[in-house]
Amino acid sequence: MDDKTIGNGSEEVRIGFFICHCGSNIAGTIDVEAVADYVRTLPNVVVSSDYKYTCSVAGQDMIVEDILKYKLNRVVVAACSPLLHEKTFRAATQRGGINPFFFHMVNIREHGSWVHQDRALATQKAMDMARGAIARVKFHKALEKRREPVRQSVLVVGGGIAGIHAALTMANAGKKVYLVEREPTIGGHMAMFDKTFPTLDCAACILTPKMSEVGSHPNIVLWSYSEVTEIKGYVGNYDVTVKRKPRYIKEDLCVGCLDCIDHCVFKTGNTDDEFNQNLSKRKPVYIPFAQAVPRLVAIDPAACTHLNGGKCEQSCATACDRQAIDFEQKETFEHIGVGAVIVATGFKPFDAHRKPLYGYGRFPDVYTALEVERLVCSSGPTGGDVVLKDGSKPKSVGIIHCVGSRDHQTNRWCSRVCCMYSLKLAHLLKEHTDAEIYNFYIDIRTPGKGYEEFYERLQEEGNHFIRGRVGDITDVPIIPEEEGRMIVRVEDSLAGFVRRIPVDMVVLATGLEPREDASEIRRRFNISCSSEGFFLERHPKLAPVSTTTDGVFLAGCCQGPKDIPDTVAQAGAAAAESLVLLDVGYVEMEPMTAFVTEKYCSGCKTCLPLCPFSAISRDEEKGVAVINPVLCKGCGTCVAACPSGAITQNLFEDRQIFAEIEELLVHA
């Protein structure tokens, strides 16, 4: 075969090769001039040059100019990862007047200079990789991106502050929003907080207006007590199934008068109130808290006598003059179509039982931070009275930072918010009890607007700051003043000696971790997790709210621990990214789909069950397989399986890959 004429049609293949120094990132380890010199000797290569920063405007212009000057019809760039700059160079190729898919990229930075030390071997590897690309690009074809319309609606999963803010932003932009929340009310963790740092705004005062706005917004469909069970389709066109759990209340009839709660046969609560961190009891028919949205009661099937098959006069049902209570209610499923998805499923507080050292669950007056949030809150279980389990007021409180965080035995990461919320709780506890407050910390981290100033304020308020992670909490006194109290044993590392500090109350600043079901959610939405289990953004700096799945965005603590300002900012960003997608109105589909060459297809049906997207069907008339390009996502599994080689995947054609393999191994 004549090499000069391989390719699309009969024209001569003219390849331009460009290798990037990336400053010293590549050139420091790989002899780029040698690679350029070598590639120049390969067949069909018309021009081969190196450049300091190929991705710069000047670098791209060089490619465009060379395409015109040397009448190039193929371009190969050896630089960084295609996941970073393939788009850039495809665009440059297009500007040179040729189809962007006549371009191929060689990764010699992430897979080369950054991971190897031996200059000769790294250079050899770069030459091999370049040769493989040169061989493959000859077989490239002109391809067109297909456009698909985008549905003008969005699914927001999770109704914490992230989901609320994202939903409102989208809804205010005129888009239809489906907000799905697992609990009976939206509000998330923020609704449980008393005040917010560093401004000490009342959390409820700033959150509940947003919650009611969600509840009444004409563009928002709010499904609480519901879960997304299935999502199919692709960017711009997702088909979603939502399971609506029975709350045993007809939502359209309930007006939230709460008469049913008053008339429940249980005169006081019979089950732990999750919203109050189990510090109080609630009835089986309940509303999580006064400002819950939607303002609908729910009946807890685990606590309700009737739903457990017991005998009950069902006084709640008779009390409701609108007959809204329906014990026969079953779960239902809603099917919706959306253009984008914002995942805002939040976090789980670290379980303090996992650090037995601190005596949580052993000593009655060891609390988690979230429990203390409820204790200091005037709508909390004690009406805002900070009292110990025996009813007395603490005279001395120890706040232990970094519980579960920065710890190889539990979670390695810094949870980012604990320092600041500990300071806030220190302030509130001081205000409520006038106790001596001891903060036991490793480092105080206050990177935020007004945060360091808040720390200073706390210092001036007379709080104690002891730099040392607590080693022991004991009830064995060695001097009389320790009698009957918990004694915190800690090295005051700035003073350089060990101290024993008797306290009446211990607060554990528990860190943030991924929810237990994070990995289930991740699979459902086809996104990735970082090693610790938080959802992975597409790029840590440049695409912080996108995921590897187009049209699925992240907001809030499901992506990593963050405070309320950052969460709201990220939720806004996720909404903005979704809006871009919706407002452009169409998505360009990558052309790497598969197609069947009819004359080779024997109609054996091997491929049919392989496609997870049901993109392949059989034309019974012709007896051949047909691939629907709209449904095909371009994985290539059917291509590899076709016994007669009738299926081709654009950009990953057999002849392209074989050419690449063989040339990669020339020097082997």
Binding site: R469, G471, E491
Partner: protein
């Protein structure tokens, strides 16, 4: 004596090779991970008696302040109960570091000559190397003679109590065949973290 002394360390006071020697000993490889959180000192049952808390030992060791570390009473007070090691959030083998430092101090000959623990360790070592077993009474007597002979008087009641309950034995215990152990131990490497030349 009462003149005011300058309290400062110069770079020349450091022995960077020392930190490497310790890092190379079993269990000591993670000392650079320490964030000085002080959990070790907080949980250590005897840190209250130490001149330098375990946290400071780690910091001084990794910075090569050999003299400060080897001369502190800390390493001899450590009872090797491993509380620090299992609670360390960075999973540093703190107890192993203490062992490593003890061997270094004895190698360098800077261990306190009349402090109970180092005297006990050396007596124990010599006895076990010779007989293969440890004989409690003999060991106690030998250690007391070298560290604090007067203490033996205080122990006389204890001795009597043990005698009365049949737990006192002055016999020197030994393995049936200690010679095999002598040869075996002579052929073990000295694991002291020093790079082979």
């Amino acid at each position: 004596m009462s003149s005011i002394q300058r309290q400062i360390r110069f770079e020349s006071d450091r022995d960077p090779g020392f930190a490497d020697e310790i890092r190379a000993m079993p269990g000591c490889e993670l000392i650079d991970r320490c964030i000085q959180c002080a959990t070790c000192s907080g949980v250590c049952p005897v840190s209250t008696y130490m001149e330098l808390t375990p946290r400071r030992i780690i910091e001084l060791t990794r910075n090569g302040f050999k003299q400060d570390v080897l001369n502190a009473n800390t390493i001899w007070i450590c009872t090797s109960c491993y509380e620090c090691q299992v609670e360390c959030p960075k999973e540093i083998g703190i107890t192993d570091v203490m062992y490593a430092l003890k061997t270094k101090a004895i190698q360098a000959g800077v261990e306190p000559k009349h402090l109970g623990p180092p005297v006990l360790f050396k007596e124990f070592y010599n006895m076990v190397r010779k007989t293969g077993r440890m004989s409690e009474t003999q060991l106690a007597v030998r250690s007391f003679i070298k560290s604090n002979p007067m203490q033996m008087w205080g122990m006389k009641w204890l001795g009597l109590r043990l005698l009365k309950t049949g737990r006192f034995s002055v016999k020197l215990e030994h393995m049936p065949k200690p010679s095999v152990l002598h040869t075996a131990l002579d052929h073990a490497d000295r694991i002291d973290g020093r790079r082979a030349k």
